[in-house]
């Protein structure tokens, strides 16, 4: 449909409090990932604003948003998104190093211990199982002490049991670190564990 603009999200007004955990749920194509991308500053909104803390993401350019993400945002993805060229430890160190963190190695090591991967820090992603890779990703997300953590279907690529342990780990760390958590999921069980649930339908918020 050349020339016709496709409106993916419309009329969404949403406030998430610091320390709150929120699940965004909805059918495939309802705009969940798009909303997550916008909230996390991975994408630019064609209209409207996203404000995190006192920063209006719309006023930053891509590099500005990158710096902001590095300082304040953590991610956990459905497909883990580890760099295959780096070991587990190096993957966790990456965001710390990008910020010029002085004790990156120590801190990364510490977080890998906390997710239960202490003995496997030197392994490459391809040597780890899906669950282990997601643990690395979680360690990476928390290692830089983000104020807000975005998770996109964190259990989507895992079996039920592994998924459950990952969820436990995620919420445990979240509680310990006092991080704001925004996650996108199909999983009703996972959504139930969040303090609030936001339902999207065809790009619009549906009040529950």
């Amino acid at each position: 449909m050349a020339g016709t603009e496709l409106e993916i999200l419309k009329g969404i007004t949403l406030e998430i409090k610091s320390g709150e955990s929120v699940a965004i749920v909805g059918a495939s194509g309802s705009g969940k990932s798009t909303l997550l991308g916008l909230l996390a500053g991975l994408d630019e909104a064609s209209a409207g604003t996203v404000v995190i803390g006192d920063t209006n993401l719309g006023e930053l350019d891509e590099d500005g948003r990158a710096l902001f993400r590095g300082r304040h945002v953590g991610f956990v993805f459905q497909s883990f998104q580890l760099l295959p060229a780096l070991t587990a430890l190096e993957n966790v160190m990456l965001p710390l190093e990008l910020q010029g963190h002085a004790r990156a190695r120590e801190q990364a090591d510490n977080f890998l211990q906390r997710v239960g991967l202490g003995p496997r820090t030197g392994h490459y992603p391809r040597q780890l199982s899906g669950g282990e890779q997601q643990r690395v990703a979680i360690a990476r997300a928390f290692a830089s002490h983000p104020s807000i953590l975005f998770a996109d279907e964190p259990t989507g690529n895992l079996d039920t049991r592994t998924g459950a342990t990952i969820i436990d780990l995620l919420f445990e760390l979240n509680r310990e670190e006092g991080t704001t958590l925004v996650l996108v999921t199909h999983d009703a069980q996972l959504a139930d564990r969040c303090q609030r649930r936001i339902c999207l339908e065809a790009g619009q918020l549906v009040v529950e």
Binding site: E62, D63, A66, F68, Q81, L86
Partner: protein, 824 residues
């Protein structure tokens, strides 16, 4: 930090495209530095060689005595010097016998460059001499011993002075330049001249002052010398025509420069392809890094740093490779060179490093630079559009870099243009043809069996990227064909020029009465000789009724010239008609056939009337045709040929050339005793030298060809690799759906082979064009169509690319489809 560029490089090695990138860079640097080191050293040797033919670096020549204080001035400036004097004289021996000879008197220090040779008996073993004859001594040319019936130690006289025969004179470095033609050579000391009393003002003599010094000192001396020169004093330097070997080596050098340029182009293409694939594969990584807070500048620094590090490693290894290439060259034929090649210096390696930097900047960096633009959104949605499409700017930059590299490297715009024209034709024709053919493929494919349908559908689906791929394959094949063609014709050319049994002796001054007996004696000895050509000394005076200037000071250009005329009713063997018609045998017309370059210098065209002076009689003739001939063929060659009837009444001597095997040299002694007035010029050492060098240069050329072939294969590999991902993905799906191995592999083979077929076809057409331009403009050779390479180009294109394609995708049938689909 540990996530450094180096770390990333080390880990990315596994990806494969880094390997191609590194190899391509190493090859580019190696080929460029190796060949230019080789060329520099060869050039070095050639310069020394031409100095040798002057016996000095700089020479003043005059018919009158040259002021001796110039020598003093030279000494003060640190320039070495020597003097020579050549004059005709009678040599007396045994009271009653005498012979007209060409005397060359040389001072101490002669020759300043190259070496004199002598032998202890006539035609004996050739030995290098430390200097010329001492005071009171002479060296006689071998045949004089027989002519005058003298031996080493006997007394001979020149004018009023008596000399002891000390040795047989064999060769002088500046022999060709001072060959007088008065008779056999006699060497004596310069200081003995006054005692002979034969050199009087007005004698027909040639004085030379020889100078030699390092280039900067020589240059400042030349600055001083130039204004001192008067009429009749001429300055000669190394640019005075280079003899036989020079020509073969220069062509070889040109070939090597061509090969080097092509190597750079090929490596450049391979680098660009590998870098592009590398960047495509890294989009996801960059997206992750950006999501974790990396800025564009950061990403640029990371990849720029990796590239620089890669470049540094490749440059170091490449320079080593280059050093190795030239070392192999010189170990192959360094010994055969008449002079030792000097060191190449570091310049070739600097050129190599500059090439590496240019390749990185212009071929590898553009796709990598765009990595920084990758959207971080790719971490959420893999279908986020990529920013690394090549733009017109990238192609323009690549083209500019290729042209600059080629030109900077060969310093020859004709060579550059010829190759660029071939490339342009490949690209233009390629895109049109590829798109058309690929579109046509679908119609045929619809009715074909399923394996064909699969392949042709694949071709059709990726139409544009396939067309690009055809162009890239065609470029690589074209460049390789060009090189193979030029090399083949070059080597053929040399081998037909100096085959086994090439004449290695000339015989001149054969009187008309001696023609029959000389011919009989040669036949009796079963000596292979060229026909006997009549030779008449004459002078060209006017063109189209306009008199030519007489000045002897101008070596080149339009002036009166002494030349040897001959007559013939047929076009002599080894001559080619360039313009006009050959005359009917027995014609009465006043016609003349002129050598093409000679005609160009004098502004002569077919149909012009040219005026000559033969003896003291004027002669006019109309130019019937222009001829081309090969001056290195060791056959008697003539600028001017007339119909026999026109010259029949003038006094002529005859000449020929013949082959004499080393063991038959004794024949010369018997021959000269029987025909004392005939002059024999020995060329056997030179011919043998040329033959050996040509053989070794041919070997060197084969070696370069092999290196360039490697560069070409790298392009093919990089080109195939570039499309492997997409094809693997499709094939994995087909496998998952239950397609047989043979169907998947067969489909892939047909698809790649079809690309290879188109590419081979294009390449062959473009190669013919490029070779035509190269041979006509650059190599100074005749172009002929080469039907042999057509099946080669097309067949090799099909099989090679088909095979490479299947090989690169082989994993698709050996790994479980699920693993592949997950990975891709």
């Amino acid at each position: 930090m540990s996530v450094t560029a180096g770390k990333m490089l080390a880990r990315d090695w596994r990806g494969g495209e880094l390997g191609v990138l590194l190899l391509a860079l190493i090859l580019a640097v190696g080929v460029v530095s190796g060949i230019s080191a080789f060329a520099t050293r060869l050039q070095n040797a050639l310069t020394q060689e031409s100095h040798r033919f002057l016996a000095a670096d700089l020479v003043v020549r005059s018919g009158r005595e040259i002021p001796p204080d110039w020598l003093q001035r030279a000494g003060e400036q640190g320039v070495a010097s020597a003097v020579t004097l050549v004059f005709p004289s009678m040599l007396y021996a045994n009271d009653d016998s005498m012979q007209l000879v060409s005397v060359k008197a040389v001072s101490d220090g002669y020759p300043l460059r190259g070496a004199l040779t002598f032998s202890e008996e006539p035609f004996g073993a050739v030995l290098p001499a430390q200097g010329g004859p001492g005071r009171g001594q002479v060296w006689l040319e071998s045949r004089l011993f027989a002519l005058l019936d003298v031996a080493i130690g006997d007394k001979v006289a020149i004018g009023e002075a008596e000399f002891t025969v000390a040795a047989a004179a064999r060769t002088e470095p500046d022999q060709a330049a001072t060959f007088g033609g008065y008779g056999p050579r006699v060497l004596m000391h310069y200081a003995d001249i006054p005692a002979t009393g034969v050199v009087q003002p007005g004698s027909r003599v040639e004085y030379r002052q020889l100078y030699a010094a390092p280039p900067d000192i020589l240059e400042s001396f030349r600055q001083w010398l130039q204004p001192q020169l008067e009429d009749g004093q001429r300055l000669l330097d190394v640019n005075e025509g280079q003899p036989g070997i020079g020509n073969a080596l220069q062509r070889a050098e040109r070939f090597l420069l061509l090969a080097g340029s092509l190597g750079v182009v090929l490596a450049g293409v391979a680098i660009a392809l590998a870098a592009r694939r590398f960047s495509e594969r890294h989009n996801d990584y960059v997206a992750i890094m950006k999501s974790l807070g990396a800025t564009s500048a950061r990403v640029n620094r990371l990849y720029g740093g990796s590239l620089l590090m890669l470049g540094a490693v490749a440059t170091a290894i490449g320079c080593l490779l280059g050093w190795g290439i030239q070392a192999v060259f010189f170990s192959l034929f360094g010994d055969q060179l008449p002079v030792q090649p000097g060191p190449s210096g570091i310049r070739p390696y600097a050129i190599g490093a500059a090439t590496s930097l240019t390749c990185l900047l212009c071929f590898a960096w553009p796709p990598l630079r765009r990595l920084a633009l990758a959207s971080p959104l790719r971490v959420l949605r893999r279908d986020t559009p990529l920013e690394n499409r090549r733009t017109l700017g990238d192609y323009a930059l690549g083209l500019l870099a290729i042209s600059l590299l080629m030109w900077g490297y060969s310093r020859d715009w004709q060579l550059t243009l010829a190759v660029l024209a071939g490339l342009a034709v490949t690209v233009a024709l390629g895109l049109v043809l590829a798109l058309t053919l690929l579109r046509g493929g679908r119609l045929v494919g619809m009715r074909a069996g399923s394996i064909w349908r699969l392949a042709l559908a694949g071709l059709q689906r990726r139409g544009t990227s396939n067309a690009m791929q055809v162009v890239i394959f065609a470029m690589a094949i074209m460049l390789l064909l060009v090189l193979v063609l030029v090399r083949t014709s070059l080597i053929d050319d040399w081998q037909t020029q100096l085959p086994e049994g090439t004449p290695n002796h000339f015989m001149i001054n054969i009187g008309p009465g001696d023609v029959q007996p000389v011919d009989q004696m040669l036949r009796a000895q079963d000596i292979k000789s060229e026909p006997l050509y009549p030779m008449i000394r004459g002078r060209i005076m006017a063109v189209r009724g306009e008199a030519l200037p007489a000045s002897d000071d101008r070596e080149e250009g339009r002036r009166q010239r002494e030349s040897n005329f001959t007559w013939s009713d047929t076009l002599p063997e080894g001559n080619r008609l360039f313009a006009g018609q050959w005359w009917a045998p027995g014609t009465d017309e006043a016609l003349v056939s002129v050598e093409r370059e000679f005609a160009e210098r004098l502004g002569i065209e077919v149909g012009d009337t040219v005026g000559f002076l033969v003896g003291s009689e004027p002669l006019e003739a109309r130019v019937a045709n222009l001829r081309e001939l090969d001056w290195q063929s060791m056959r008697p060659n003539f600028f001017l040929i007339f119909p026999p009837r026109l010259l029949a009444d003038y006094p002529a001597t005859f000449m020929t050339s013949f082959y004499l095997a080393p063991q038959d040299k004794g024949f010369l002694n018997r021959f000269i005793r029987q025909f004392p007035t005939v002059t024999v010029i020995e060329m056997d050492v030179v011919v043998e030298q040329i033959r050996t060098i040509v053989q070794q240069v041919s070997a060197a050329i084969e070696l370069v060809l092999a290196v360039i072939l490697a560069a070409g294969s790298l392009v093919l590999v990089a080109g195939v690799q570039a499309s492997v991902d997409a094809r693997m993905h499709e094939s994995a799906i087909l496998r998952a759906l239950g397609a047989r191995r043979s169907l998947v592999l067969g489909g892939l083979f047909i698809e790649f082979a079809a690309l290879g077929l188109f590419a081979g076809l294009l390449a062959t057409v473009a190669a013919e064009l490029s070779v035509y331009m190269l041979q006509e403009w650059v190599m100074d050779m005749r172009y002929t169509l080469s039907p042999r390479i057509w099946p080669l180009g097309i067949g090799a294109g099909m099989l090679l690319i088909g095979g490479l394609g299947v090989f690169s995708c082989r994993r698709v049938v050996s790994s479980p489809p699920v693993a592949l689909l997950r990975e891709l």
